[in-house]
Symmetry: C2
Subunit: 349 residues, 2 copies
């Protein structure tokens, strides 16, 4: 076993604090990483505070991980020591169900093994995430990070990136299409960058005009203040696709009304309470309201390669691990542009 150092929540109400714990010795198919950077996803906070229920403690959060390969097992062919590598939300899955066989491990019929707050395939060993110095993961769930990408800015691609890239690809967003992005946070700012890089006309919907200049800088062609009824009305029925990244309660019917006939709105944020949906919002123009969860491993690699080619990266604020609790507080206020990323070298300080 390898002793790992990290930051963990000991309970739903305790702040994150230093911890030492054991990682397994790399098996024949395992890759061991030195974690360089780990993004802070809102779901880290939800789970550390047990807001979704069922959290297991102690919990080392973190699933937006970029690291350097330090050891490889005997059968590892994909990686060699020194490679830049990434790990996202999953570290394993059943590999035999129809979804796994189609490369959609995120929809694994037995639920995937998540990077933390989950159990390994043995059903008992808890997984621990990337707020730590070392990680051991089966090579099939480790991604290659293109060498031209800044590793700090690449870390959020492993969750915020793939979560927005996957639906844009699945619903075939491309040139000639008008795409709305609702919300401009960690997910939304990646959605804007991807939709733009895919060639779409991008309209950002934000509840205030504070982020207008930023949205344009990130790649939006237009910014609409969603509380402005006139601006909203002017876009009614004009969009081919809407990516909704908002986790707070919001009026989904207002955004469905923006879609053309046969358009799709895809939710990637996870509002805690049910959204009241007006049937006529869908029936009037045969619209669809869908949801999407992260992305499969092959698609995550495709996304990273796309980012390497198009130089798509997250806008980040790099912090030392010692500021993680303060970052959580700021995250709750939406006070981050647009993703906190922990520099894991700070663990040694």
């Amino acid at each position: 076993m390898t002793t790992a150092r990290g930051y963990a929540a000991q309970s739903a109400t305790s702040p994150l604090a230093p911890i030492q714990f054991e990682r397994r010795e790399p098996g024949a198919r395992d890759v061991q990483l030195e974690v360089l950077f780990c993004g802070i996803c809102h779901s880290d906070l939800h789970q550390a505070r047990d807001e979704w229920g069922g959290s297991a403690f102690p919990m080392v959060p973190g699933h937006e991980i970029v690291g350097r390969v330090t050891r490889v097992g005997a059968d590892v062919t994909k990686f060699k020591v020194g490679d830049l590598a990434g790990v996202g939300c999953m570290v394993d899955a059943c590999r035999t169900c129809p979804s796994c066989k189609e490369g959609l491990e995120q929809y694994c019929a037995q639920t995937p093994v998540y990077t933390y707050n989950s159990k390994e395939r043995d059903g008992k060993t808890p997984t621990q995430g990337g707020y730590s110095d070392v990680l051991v993961v089966d090579q099939d769930f480790v991604l290659k990070v293109p060498a031209n990408l800044d590793p700090a800015r690449a870390a959020p691609l492993l969750c915020a990136g793939i979560t927005t890239y996957s639906p844009l690809r699945h619903w075939k967003v491309g040139p000639g299409q008008r795409v709305g992005v609702v919300g401009l946070g960690g997910l939304g700012h990646m959605g804007v960058k991807f939709a733009r890089a895919m060639g779409a006309h991008v309209v950002v919907f934000s509840h205030t005009d504070k982020k207008k200049q930023d949205a344009l800088r990130l790649g939006a062609h237009e910014v609409v203040v969603s509380s402005n009824a006139e601006e909203m009305e002017a876009r009614a029925g004009t969009l081919d696709f809407v990516l909704d990244t908002v986790s707070a309660p919001h009026d989904i019917n207002a955004y469905l009304g923006l879609l053309r006939r046969d358009g799709s709105l895809v939710l990637v944020g996870v509002p805690e309470k049910p959204l009241p949906l007006q049937p006529f919002s869908l029936i009037a123009q045969r619209r669809s309201f869908s949801g999407s969860s992260i992305g499969g491993i092959n698609e995550t690699q495709e996304m990273l390669d796309f980012c390497g080619k198009h130089e798509v990266l997250s806008d980040v604020e790099v912090i030392p691990i010692q500021q993680v609790n303060e970052a959580y507080t700021r995250l709750l206020k939406g006070d981050v542009k647009y993703r906190f990323v922990i520099d894991m070298r700070s663990l040694k300080e």
Copy 2:
């Protein structure tokens, strides 16, 4: 002008009663029909009682019409006197918007001209429906009814039929698929027949087991009582498609949970109040919740031809027009198997 006789609501609170009114002389492209049978759709009742707002009176309801051609205009090529013909929910549309050009007149950007409680393209002449003895409609919005179909049982195809056929076709339901039909009323019983005729495995969801034998007779392979948690749980994640025909409030999340990954639930009923939608119901397996409204003219013809070929017809209870108010009362109680159809010869009594 031609004097027509029919039954009309004079206000939102008055029962339907006899009326005489004028129909236009057939123009060059018009077809005049003697109405033989007209189905009673729940939307007739909603509009006659102004439950959706904006109703105009006097109102002659009825948009499930089968009749015999009695006159044709000089330029009419599609029909000749004596033909069996049908008219559904629309009698015109703008014909120039993208939806009209694609044969999806029901999604006309200027809203179609509905068969009643609407205005002709002149913006002022009120339209009046099929609870009457004579109808005059542009040939482009008149359908050919296959001669082998019983006209009384064919009438409901013009709304209940196309409303269920269209989404089954659009979402490509066919052999090898498992399809759920929620609700077994006027729409639901047609959904069962179509899904079965298209080769799918059909599972009917009903809130009681009263309709079980009937559902099997109509073509269902299985019937699930939706209040039985065990039966519902056993079907979780097993269906490719769900056709939801329920207009009353109901737990949409329970039915979304029946879908496999990438499955679609399509709502064709129109519940008056918003449905609380749990985001996770969609996100968990990339499911879609969509709506669909009737069908275009070409597709309605395709549906009628399909019915002619597969002998698909509505199960009806034929009544004289004098019982229309009683039928409305029974409709509200769900006391009909499965569609009331008015025999318009009764107008002459």
